[in-house]
């Protein structure tokens, strides 16, 4: 058997070399890519102290005393920072939502959650700081017996929410869903639970802070929003107005900029997935550095990332679906209860996809949040949508069975031809093609649709599918493009590279628009000293920064063309400017005359052409409904006795507008599907319900998928060009791969076993319990 397998074990062919690979790729495979935690004293002028955090072991009460006497006597120790000696910070008024907006660190003795940072030990080396941190003794008052950590014990903390996520409505009412549900021919009513889980990017939280002699502050850290971090720092440390003002206002709306005293450098993030923006440690390292007057590096331990960084909070959703005789949805009702922290305003937007997924005359969303005595949950890949779709798409599978329709047929019958919650026409929608491509690839029509009917090699086999949808968003962004005398271009925008390949895709956009070779374009990114590049969130970077780059590059090109046809020294002199093409670094006229861009620019009187563009001032408001779509198909096998679940195949077909770089997009889609598999089967951060402490704070017990867990996985990219929705025709594909995966796996487990699992992660003990109770 092993030998027979060898044939299929040939490596897939590498993608064509003509598709650009990551521009930072050589650095990454040679170990030269630099992350914040890699910064050494050499790079900081020979001085870089190391801080280690001391965290609370209880979730409530007060710090009575911090005994640092022993620690201060230990070798190399410079300082212990706590609420007793930390500089006072100013309240952060803007860009909040994260915990850092409500809870400034080391300001008082109150404990809000277990694992809160209570002190920082600063020493000359990591080993010294670590040893001294272990020697700091904290005395606590008694914990609050009323503290609550789970939705099951919320004790009156649950309240309706007006807004969820980034401002989506917490309550949605279209038509009259309750009466429609009551009189529907077919009804599904099921409650779904999802466990908290952490991002666990491979790079833990890390930050380096240095104050300069003029009182300026430079902070290096991985983040998805360098400008946002700069504003937070400006506010917290009481800088002048211009550092407190969101520069997106000054730059995007005012169109001007001025020198700032806060600079945030975010070159590369070692994974982020929503988790590395506005973390508390952003303020911790500058606090310590302010006191010591020396640069400070703080890297969290893996365990500390569980309480000092966000996570996806616990959720509970009741879904009711009502359908008529034909399977046409008449009512979608979602009642969600979502965990939030007592600090931090973030509420998981579970409704985001629910209200856009299917055509239904009546939709009712009722979302509530319970403030728990935990560190605050936050954004995580596929926010809201992947949880909402887990519930909705599981419920759709149940409805399919009730109506006797094939799950795919049911979805086709309820296809939303217009955006359901707004009635807007879609800018483009290729969901049906996604269904068809995915179904064909996995062999959907060839399966035996009867529940618990399929077997292979003694194992139960199940197929499942789900719809994926992730709304398209665009934010304001600014880009500057400079075409130099050498014909090389520099592109500037303060966007972030978090592993999604953004710097490569943006360089491609600039090169393509300018008509230059990729190697002739250099992107500068990841620095708040650059023009405002927006947030790297919600699959919107290509749309936002990409649009700004495209526009600035178009302006540069126009300027170049207009000038060159008027330049008597050019062979293109006198040609119509709008007739010229620029490609591979050459300007070409319809009559065949041509000149290299570099040759032309060498004569340019200014030595360069500089253009700046601002796009998305309307925050992407569009006359169209805009969304990426996908269809997720899964084959699972389940051992009939041990109920061991294995995902045999994951096939996702996605339509997300124009694809700038198919290699990078495929990687991103596959990665998101791996996330979906982890969320479906593995990921759970375990709380001790008595103490509110995260207990499995390590990567041996907080499981994420390994290579062995990922069998056959395929992403099919459906051709789509969304120029109606966006000047680049792109939609964003960072999240869509996770959205439908857990539901498709749940549906496949049901098909294999007849057991409906309604709680994530779907580990075999839950399947065993369901089977024993059946």
């Amino acid at each position: 058997m092993a030998n027979a397998n060898n044939i299929s074990d040939l490596a897939s062919a590498a993608p064509p070399a003509s598709i650009p690979r990551r521009i930072e790729g050589r650095d990454k495979v040679r170990g030269r890519a630099r992350y914040a935690g890699d910064i050494t004293s050499q790079e900081m002028g020979g001085v870089l102290d190391v801080a280690v955090a001391v965290t609370s072991t209880q979730a409530s009460g007060q710090v009575l005393a911090i005994d640092d006497a022993a620690a201060l006597k230990m070798p190399g120790v410079r300082l212990v920072v706590s609420h007793e000696n930390a500089p006072r910070l100013h309240k952060i008024m803007s860009l909040t939502g994260a915990e850092i907006g409500d809870l400034l660190p080391l300001q008082d003795a109150k404990i809000h959650y277990a694992g809160q940072c209570l002190a920082l030990v600063v020493a000359d080396t990591l080993e010294h700081a670590r040893a001294a941190a272990a020697a700091v003794e904290v005395r606590y008052s008694a914990p609050d017996p009323q503290a609550a950590f789970t939705l099951a014990e919320d004790g009156g903390r649950t309240k309706d929410v007006a807004k969820v996520g980034g401002g989506d409505p917490g309550q949605v009412k279209i038509g009259e869903a309750r009466p429609a549900y009551e009189k529907a021919d077919f009804q599904v009513d099921m409650t779904f639970l999802t466990a908290p889980h952490h991002h666990n990017a491979m790079e833990p939280g890390a930050v380096v802070a240095a104050w300069d002699e003029d009182g300026g502050l430079t902070v290096q850290l991985p983040t998805q929003f360098s400008y946002g971090e700069a504003v937070i720092l400006g506010e917290a440390f009481g800088f002048g107005l211009k550092d407190r003002l969101p520069r997106l206002i000054s730059q995007v709306l005012g169109g001007f900029d001025f020198n700032h005293k806060v600079r945030v450098i975010a070159t590369l993030a070692g994974g982020s997935f929503g988790g590395k923006t506005s973390n508390v440690h952003l303020l911790l390292a500058p606090l310590a550095a302010k006191l010591t007057g020396r640069p400070v590096k703080l890297v969290l331990t893996r365990a500390q990332t569980f309480s000092l960084m966000p996570y996806r909070g616990e959720t509970q959703q009741r879904i009711r679906l009502g359908a008529d005789q034909n399977g046409q949805l008449q009512a979608i009702i979602q009642d969600a209860v979502l965990a939030k922290g007592t600090a931090g305003q973030f509420v998981e937007p579970t409704s985001e996809a629910t209200v856009k997924a299917y055509s239904s005359p009546n939709i009712l969303v009722h979302q509530q949040a319970a403030a728990l005595d935990l560190n605050a949950p936050g954004w995580m890949r596929g926010p809201g949508a992947c949880l909402g779709q887990f519930a909705l798409e599981s419920a759709m599978d149940m409805l399919a069975e009730k109506t006797g329709l094939d799950p795919l047929d049911l979805r086709l019958r309820n296809h939303a031809d217009v955006e359901p919650d707004t009635g807007k026409e879609w800018s483009s929608k290729s969901l049906i093609q996604c269904y068809q491509a995915g179904a064909a690839r996995i062999g959907w029509a060839d399966r035996d649709p009867r529940v618990a009917s399929m077997r292979e090699g003694g194992r139960l086999i199940g197929y499942g599918m789900a719809t994926a949808i992730y709304p398209v968003k665009q934010m304001p962004a600014v880009a500057c493009v400079i075409l130099g005398a050498d014909g090389q271009a520099v592109v500037q925008t303060a966007t972030q590279e978090i592993g999604q390949g953004m710097i490569t895709a943006l360089t491609q956009i600039a090169a393509e628009t300018l008509g230059l070779e990729l190697a002739a374009v250099r992107l500068e990114w990841g620095d708040s000293a650059l023009p405002y590049g927006g947030m790297t969130v919600g699959s919107m970077t290509t749309l936002s920064a990409g649009a700004a780059i495209q526009e600035a590059a178009q302006q540069v090109r126009q300027t170049l063309l207009k000038w060159v046809v008027q330049d008597p020294a050019s062979p293109l002199h006198g040609q119509p400017a709008d007739g010229l093409r620029v490609a591979q670094g050459r300007l070409v006229a319809p009559n065949g005359a041509s000149e290299a861009v570099a040759a032309a620019m060498a004569r340019h009187p200014d030595g360069s052409i500089n253009e700046e563009a601002i796009t998305g001032r309307t925050f992407g408001h569009s006359p169209y409904g805009r969304s990426a779509f996908g269809a997720q198909f899964v084959k699972v096998s389940v051992d009939p006795d041990t109920l061991h679940i294995q995902v045999e195949r994951l096939v996702g077909a996605y339509a997300g507008g124009r694809v700038i770089n198919p290699v990078l997009v495929r990687s991103q889609l596959l990665g998101a599907m791996v996330w979906g598999l982890g969320q479906a089967l593995l990921e759970e951060s375990s709380l001790d319900p008595r103490t509110g402490r995260w207990m499995n704070t390590n990567l041996a017990e907080a499981l994420v998928p390994t290579n062995a867990d990922i069998a056959n996985i395929e992403a099919i990219i459906i051709d789509e060009d969304d120029t109606r929705g966006h000047p680049l025709g792109v939609k964003g594909l960072g999240e869509i791969g996770i959205v439908g995966t857990s539901a498709a796996i749940a549906n496949a487990i049901y098909h294999a076993t007849g057991q409906r699992l309604t709680s994530l992660p779907m580990r075999l003990d839950k399947l065993l319990a369901a089977r024993l109770n059946a």
Binding site: G457, D641, T642, L681, L682, N696, D709, L764
Partner: protein, 337 residues
């Protein structure tokens, strides 16, 4: 972590002598010890580095094999004679940890691997194993991975390793040297139940050093399996694991059976009476089910881990079938056979 002293032992006698000092630990592969030191669960005054001791060979011994205590898990698993004569051991070792860890972890150290109980690992939590008398945080807490057998009111920790489960089924003997001289300990007697002294995982006395593990001269290379059930498909501790070896007579009747369980108890769990139920039987669901029930007699769940009782029963029956059929579980092909 706090600093500690370091001594590189030149020979076994020196190691044993040094090992008698209070709060010292022997350092071999370090894959568990350094992990524990970093969490401040272990706070040794000094480490006695035994890595240069001549205890790394795998050699013939009384018809069986002697595995040097310092032979790594990888060297052992891939050793041709072990792969051929004791494939259960190879398979079991390869079901554990990762390739990197198996390259470092030693056979002796593996026996001394400490529990993965989350409360043991957390110095801020009560734990009678780590801090005697402080209580057991796992009772009523997060205990999905913990023991259903052999626990006490003071401790419900499990022995988390894989290799010792196979060694229990193979009836290996642990060779040790100590201040009082050398002795061998049957694997079954090596780990101990917590009772009211959960801080002691095993029956070693202070200063005793594992020098070798002896595999007896027996052939279980036909009817064996190591079935490990875990949440993810690799690099995870067992929820339940089962090592089975069977000797079948020419007529297919079971002449000898040994079944050891991992992940369910403070030690590899064997019940001779359960194995005896199989002797003289033909492989059958009834026979295997009866043995499983006998093995699990007295099993008690702690809430989150209740499922392990049923899961273990199913896994035992399946593992017995795999062994009887001569279709051992492959650690590469993740399908349970």
């Amino acid at each position: 972590m706090n600093n500690f002293g370091y001594l590189r032992a030149g020979d076994v006698a020196e190691a044993v002598r040094a090992g008698q000092a209070p709060a010292v630990r022997f350092l071999a592969g370090g894959t568990n010890l350094l992990d524990l030191i970093k969490y401040e669960v272990e706070q040794p005054a000094a480490l006695i580095d035994i890595n240069r001791l001549p205890l790394r060979t795998i050699e013939a011994h009384e018809g069986g094999l002697r595995l040097g205590a310092l032979a790594t898990n990888a060297e052992t698993a891939y050793h041709p004679e072990i792969a051929q004569r004791y494939p259960l051991l190879s398979s079991t070792i390869l079901a554990g940890a990762s390739a990197q860890l198996r390259n470092a972890a030693t056979n002796g150290g593996n026996l001394l691997q400490r529990t993965r109980c989350l409360y043991f690992y957390d110095p801020a939590s009560p734990c009678n194993k780590r801090a005697p008398g402080s209580g057991c945080g796992a009772l009523g807490g997060v205990n999905r991975g913990l023991a259903i057998l052999g626990a006490s009111s003071q401790c419900i920790a499990t022995y988390p390793g894989d290799m010792a489960v196979a060694l229990a089924a193979l009836e290996a003997r642990v060779q040790v040297s100590g201040p009082a001289g050398a002795r061998t300990i049957a694997l079954a007697d090596f780990h101990r139940l917590p009772g009211d002294e959960p801080s002691r995982d095993n029956t070693l006395t202070p200063g005793e050093l594992i020098t070798a593990i002896n595999l007896p001269d027996e052939d279980f290379s036909q009817h064996y399996t190591y079935l490990k059930i875990r949440d993810r498909l690799s690099y995870a501790f067992a929820l339940v694991s089962v090592a089975v070896v069977l000797r079948l007579a020419a007529d297919g009747i079971i002449a000898e059976a040994r079944i050891a369980l991992g992940g369910v108890a403070p030690k590899p769990w064997r019940v001779p009476a359960a194995e005896a139920l199989l002797v003289g039987q033909r492989p059958s669901a009834e026979a295997f089910g009866a043995a499983a029930s006998r093995l699990l007699a007295g099993a008690v769940g702690q809430g989150e881990n209740d499922f392990k009782i049923e899961l273990a029963h199913r896994a035992i029956v399946r593992a017995c079938w795999q062994a009887a059929a001569g279709t051992p579980q492959s650690q590469t092909d993740k399908h349970i056979r």
